[in-house]
Amino acid sequence: MLSVQNLEVVYQDVILVLRGVSFEIPKGKIVSLLGSNGSGKTTVIRSITGLLDIQNGDITKGTISVDGEDITNFNPSKIVEKGIAQVLEGRRIFSELTVVENLRLGGHTNSQDIQSNIEKVLDMFPILKQRSKGEAGYLSGGEQQMLAIGRALMSDPSYLLLDEPSLGLAPKLVDQIADLIKEINEQGVTVLLVEQNANMALNVSDHGYIMETGNVVMDNPSEVLLKDEDVREFYLGLNPEGTKRKSFKDVKHYKRKKRWLS
């Protein structure tokens, strides 16, 4: 189980981005993390994988633990060795390098199995196999996303963190990615899915968390969230027939604190 407790993150010493986020990813499940832009989803992933440092961010409170072991503030390569791999937002493949070189880099911490893992990933993505010697920058967006996922799988992770895998992809490809996530999960990889595309995320995942301005404001099994009226309206764009659109500010799920000097 990957568990995040009371996580508070500050950027540049002054910008409070996460205000006590807690959630759990039970082993073998798919958990999705939803929220609008700027709610802190990516920051959550960054804090788990130790990438806050180069963005000038600090974990000021809280702990992150994997299978009971505290990994808060570990450096990124240690975290990958602990079996947590991530797919960065916007894919971030090494476009000047070939497809195979990209995959080799994904297995940087796991060099013994590199050859067999490359074959495994290329079998999973036949499109990449055809272009394995070509420069990764010439792949299409969907292929690049597959390469990014394949690259993350190279380290044989037990936890896979996906940051917006549907970003900029056609609806058909989004379905393909969703099937892929299920398939990866069935092979025993626990998945955290950070998404804007709530429909896809909730249909794939077992449990969903919803974030607003640095807080988790709601968490429920995905089926329940799919039926929730506010979620339907604001994340799925389905408001009950005949009703006027609600204002977002009326449904904030946290209490507004109004105190002087705080």
Binding site: G50, N56, N75, P76, S77, V80, F94, E101, R104, L105
Partner: protein, 306 residues
């Protein structure tokens, strides 16, 4: 024709020396985005270490050479860990200035060790028959120059295999392309920085040996020769290893041809360009190329991101 061949050979051997230093510049620039001005100083410090081991300590020359080159790599690594690692994330400008400070520090220590008299490196090149040279069809080939050429070619081949095949070579390319994505793959970026400096130090020491070995000596101004790798890198483009090699060849050949053809040329145009013009010519070439290609011949065009 003989003169032309002689000039070409000497130009190419200079190019070999420059390219060793220049590749070091590029490796550091690509990994850390910093132009390290300490590179020429490392070259002469490397020569100093070899001389100190071989001449002062009396260690057999070939052993002293290997040991000296290795120690220069280690010194370079230590410089990176102590001075540059704490500066990660600071403005590139301050880090570049810091490397100038390291350059001055290294050279001051070295100069006080050299003293007034130039130092020999104790290598056997001058004693190999015919003053360390063979004559092929009127062209005088110095062993040291030939060795420089062969060594540089070998090193470039080894490096290209290293960057293509080895785990850390590919990781270095990835880190220079996208540091954050490299971190996310579990690559230890600090180790990559260290590796870049270590390799750059070793290359600099090789260059230092070829600059000061043979009949040449290690003096207080030897570093000026290594410094001429800077126009070579600028011509080639700061972030391109092939560029560094091509830039070095341009600079080396220019210097070779100017040295041999300056006097006939002066007679032709009727006035004197002054002695030592061959040392100036590389910089003139740099000016001309930069006017047309501000990012160098092979450099990536700089895009200002806000």
């Amino acid at each position: 024709m003989t003169i032309f061949l002689q000039a070409t050979v000497e130009g190419l051997s200079l190019a070999a020396i420059y390219s060793l230093v220049a590749i070091g510049f590029v490796l550091i620039y690509k990994s850390m985005d910093v132009l390290s001005f300490a590179q020429p100083a490392l070259a002469v410090v490397g020569a100093g270490i070899i001389s100190s081991l071989a001449v002062d300590r009396g260690i057999p020359f070939w052993l002293a050479l290997i040991l000296g080159i290795f120690l220069t790599g280690v010194l370079s690594l230590i410089i990176e860990r102590t001075f540059l690692r704490p500066m990660v994330g600071e403005p590139v400008f301050s880090v570049a200035i810091l490397t100038i400070g390291i350059d001055i520090l290294l050279r001051t220590v070295l100069d006080s060790w050299i003293g007034i008299n130039p130092r020999y490196l104790g290598d056997p090149f001058p004693t190999f028959g015919n003053f360390g040279a063979i004559n092929v069809g009127g062209v005088n080939l110095k062993f040291l120059e030939l060795t420089a050429l062969v060594t540089a070619i070998l090193i470039i081949l080894i490096l290209s295999v290293f960057f293509k095949r080895s785990k850390y070579g590919v990781a270095m390319r990835a880190t220079s392309f996208d540091q954050e994505a490299a971190l996310a793959q579990g690559i230890n970026v600090g180790r990559i920085f260290g590796l870049a400096w270590f390799i750059a130090g070793i290359l600099a020491a090789f260059a230092g040996f070829f600059i000061t070995g043979g009949f040449n000596t290690l003096g207080q101004f030897s570093f000026l020769i290594a410094l001429r790798a800077l126009p070579a890198v600028v011509i080639g483009g700061l972030d391109s290893i092939p560029g560094a090699v091509v830039g070095s060849i341009i600079i080396g050949l220019t210097q070779g041809y100017v040295a041999y053809y300056q006097i006939p040329f002066e007679n032709l145009i009727g006035f004197s360009l002054g002695s030592g013009f061959s040392l100036l010519a590389p910089y003139l070439i740099m000016f001309v190329i930069l006017i047309f290609r501000p990012d160098g011949l092979f450099g990536t065009e700089e895009v200002e991101r806000v």
